[in-house]
Amino acid sequence: MSAPANPARDSYLRGVRAALPFAVVIVPFAMLFGLLASEAGLQLYEILAFSVSVFAGASQFAALHLLQDQAPMLVILATSLAVNLRMLMYSVTLAPHLGAAPLGIRAVMAYLLVDQSFALSVAEYDKRPNMTLAEKTAYFFGAVTPVLPLWLGSTVAGALAGRAIPPEYALDFAVPIAFLAMTAPMIRSWPHALAAGLSVVLTLALTVLPYGTGLLVGASIGMAAGAALEYWREKAAQKLPPQQRTGA
């Protein structure tokens, strides 16, 4: 006799399976964070508190970097929060799918809303438009189930390894490589390329401004330019007669 059908359980397990391959990225990235934080002189409990409280890798690297530079508080917060602003878009996109869940569940989901759980859930809801709320909720939790323990566990592993590594192994370039490796696959269109390129050029030109404020100016202009180019390209595509729009 077969087991009784349990669609929510199936959805949960599908989410877990889909998220498992992300271990390849999460483990080294979290270990690197633990390692660098430990080299920066933070204690294990401080590193763990950081990862539990923020649970957003890129912004943690950014904040750590600026803390070491002893940048002013407002610059540290503004820069690391700018990195996390993309999650506002995640929250907007998921609200129509999950907004009917109980408030307590949504409060937990919000904490667990990370790049992986967002990307996997949106793709799954798209692929299976007939999912019920229970199935969607289960899938979301499934997709984040491997992420949280891997992130925290690998942060701790990296922090412990950091104590064992002598300081003469220069790790100064690990963060640039990690950030560039993270960003390059995100450049999917010309507006993305413009946003990234303009932001880099302006930030380099504005290094005369104190405490990384040039970055905030450069990144804001880059972002606006990317959005403007996207808008302009959409408008231009709409103006084309239909036979040209299909690219024939």
Binding site: S59, A62, L77, L81, G99, F179, A184, L215
Partner: protein
């Protein structure tokens, strides 16, 4: 040395503010829509901030007291090119690390 007052302020404020961003529409504003221009701009936050944050360290690394360094420049270039071509963060990172560690042996 990281200032501990500053550190704990960042842990608490960044944690709370990041949670507020995540909770915003999922938790409170589900029926509201963001203005189009804002939604559009948000798509570009990560690609604008992350590379700009490390660009000065690529060109003027602190480890060489600000002098451009062939190994680091080449490693950064390889990371970006492999990332663009493969669309895989892990391949890009590996290629960058191998370049960074390998170049000093070749020169």
């Amino acid at each position: 040395m990281i200032d501990r007052t500053q550190f704990w302020t960042v842990v608490v404020v960044l944690g709370l503010a990041t949670y507020a961003i995540r909770f915003s529409f999922l938790g409170l504003l589900g029926n509201h829509a963001l203005p189009g221009w804002l939604q559009r701009s948000l798509r570009y936050t990560a690609v604008a901030v992350l590379p700009a944050l490390v660009a000065p360290a690529v060109l003027w690394p602190a480890a060489t007291i600000g002098a451009p360094d062939a190994a680091r420049l080449l490693a950064a270039t390889v990371t970006v090119v492999v990332g663009l071509a493969s669309r895989q963060m892990i391949f890009a990172a590996l290629a960058g690390v191998v370049t960074l560690l390998g170049v000093p042996f070749l020169l």
